[in-house]
Amino acid sequence: MPASRWANASSGTVRSEKPADPSPGDSGRAARGLPAYVLRVPTGTYRALNPLTKFVIALSSALVAFGVRGWTGPLSVLVVTAAIALIAGVSRSLRRFVLATIPIVASILLVNAFLYPGATDVLFRVGPLAATGTGGTVALQATLRVLAFALSVAVFSLTTATDDFLADLECRGTGRRLTFVVGSAIRTIPAMGSRAVEIVEAQRARGLDTEGSIRRRLRGIVPLAGPMVFGSLAEVEERTVALEARAFSAPVRRTVMRTLPDGSGQRAMRWLVGLGSIAAVVASIAGRFPLP
């Protein structure tokens, strides 16, 4: 019977008699006989944390940076995130993310320092505009908030592999649908990006002007968006059939081969950080946050 032959073949590769290269220290997992590339567990002080822990830390940082008003929220997130980046050894790669905030930071500083409504404490004047102390304070706080948020995002995405995060979520029972949606979206974006570049180049070769005045660029939208949207929607049917043929809507849980280390310490930390940040934001909104 062909079906059983397939079953044997697949179980043969996964559960081979000889455990495939159990590196020392890979104790419990090697027993299952999974090959090393499936088992690859991130190493390093911060990277080795469970992906969910890192995600809770990133979300809590964003919440505190935006939700706790004044200086304390953004500054504490900035300090904590910078410390994490140093420990994780990603501080060098952060530069790119900091540079990406320049347009909004410039906008925040200019608009708020010079055009803060109702502020009268003039610091200096440039032509008809006056920079005010109140506006400058608000601008600095907003800048710190944006920086703290950008760094928290950067640290998460630099230390966490998407596949690890999704595998861990599926272990916790989020279901294959959400996992598929997020994983598939992340994989589709670069593919569609390169398709967009191909389309733009193909249309340019036919004489479409994608640079120049606004009117010309506006006329460039339709020949770009049309083939991209219709081309990718045409794939929906094929993918649906392919997934259904692989028992995507079967009413049973899929076995997740990769499990990432987690512990009661980390679980406690997640609750502590998550609830702590919510409490801090609530206290700040209620006006009972003790620090400036």
Binding site: I104, I108, P117, S184, A185, M192, V200, R217
Partner: protein, 273 residues
């Protein structure tokens, strides 16, 4: 529960990641490569909402912005907190889908002309209360600098003419409802976005629309109403364009494909499959 699970058939689960990728890639291309002063980052969200329902649409919007922000490759600057707005847009699109707003309604003769005129009137009627809002005209509270006022009227007139022309040329009453859906979505999006922008980013977003915020601030608006003023200016235009793009995309897809989505039958009506 059945209402919820019907929105997430396998076909919808396949559509959502593609819609998210369309949102991100098209939004990025339009804002960064073509450098146009609109967003166009909710076409996928509205598409899923119209085809599948409110919850599927909201999920698409929220995930789009979160993935745009947190995915290692793309890394959007300030898009993450606006996931709330995107979710609301997707939810509204689901309601439009259940009301069959995007169903094609062929018509001719006087009916068509009346619909075209009605659409133009609606655009103008929607714009007037926004412009007459005391927050923008009362000099004690704030007020648009005069050029913003003129620009808004010119844009409203252009939009009214385009919408009316679209209905007349395509001989389709649906254009009226599509325009209404776009404008309403835009106004709601503006009201949801303004506090996010004010609380998280000091009222600006780091894009071309900040000039408008600056102009409103100089006119004396406070942080929130300057952001709201900018949103009420950009969002209805952006969402009306998006709404028409989605309508054109739906018209270009085969009925056979559309009918298989949860709200496909409402969308198609009596159209031959």
């Amino acid at each position: 529960m059945a209402w919820l699970s019907r929105q997430f058939s396998t076909r919808v689960i396949v559509l959502i990641p593609i819609a998210i990728a369309i949102n991100i890639v098209l939004g990025y291309t339009v804002q960064t490569i073509l450098k146009l002063p609109i967003y166009l980052d909710s076409i996928g969200t509205i598409l899923v909402g119209v085809l599948a329902g409110p919850i599927a649409g909201a999920l698409t919007g929220i995930l789009s912005n979160l993935i745009w922000q947190y995915a290692p490759v793309i890394g959007g600057g300030t898009i993450g907190p606006f996931a709330i707005t995107a979710g609301v847009i997707g939810f509204l699109a689901g309601i439009w889908g259940q009301l069959a707003v995007y169903r094609s309604r062929p018509a001719s003769g006087t009916q068509l002309i009346l619909a075209a005129i009605a659409a133009a009137v609606i655009v103008v009627v929607v714009v007037i209360p926004i412009l007459n809002n005391p927050a923008y005209t009362d000099p004690n509270i704030g007020g648009y600098p005069s050029w913003v006022y003129t620009a808004a009227i010119v844009i409203a007139a252009i939009v009214a003419v385009i919408v009316a022309g679209f209905i007349y040329i395509r001989r389709d009453l649906a254009g009226l409802w599509v325009a209404v859906a776009g404008v309403v979505t835009g106004i709601v999006a503006a009201f949801v976005s303004a506090p996010i922008s004010a609380i998280a980013f000091g009222g600006v977003t780091g894009s071309g629309t900040d000039l408008l915020v600056a102009a409103l601030r100089q006119g004396g608006s406070d942080v929130m109403s300057a952001s709201l003023g900018q949103g009420l200016f950009s969002d209805p235009i952006d969402k009306t364009i998006t709404s028409f793009v989605v309508f054109i995309v739906l018209g270009g897809l085969s009925g056979r494909l559309l009918a298989r989505f949860p709200l496909g039958e409402r969308l198609l009506g009596n159209r031959a499959v």
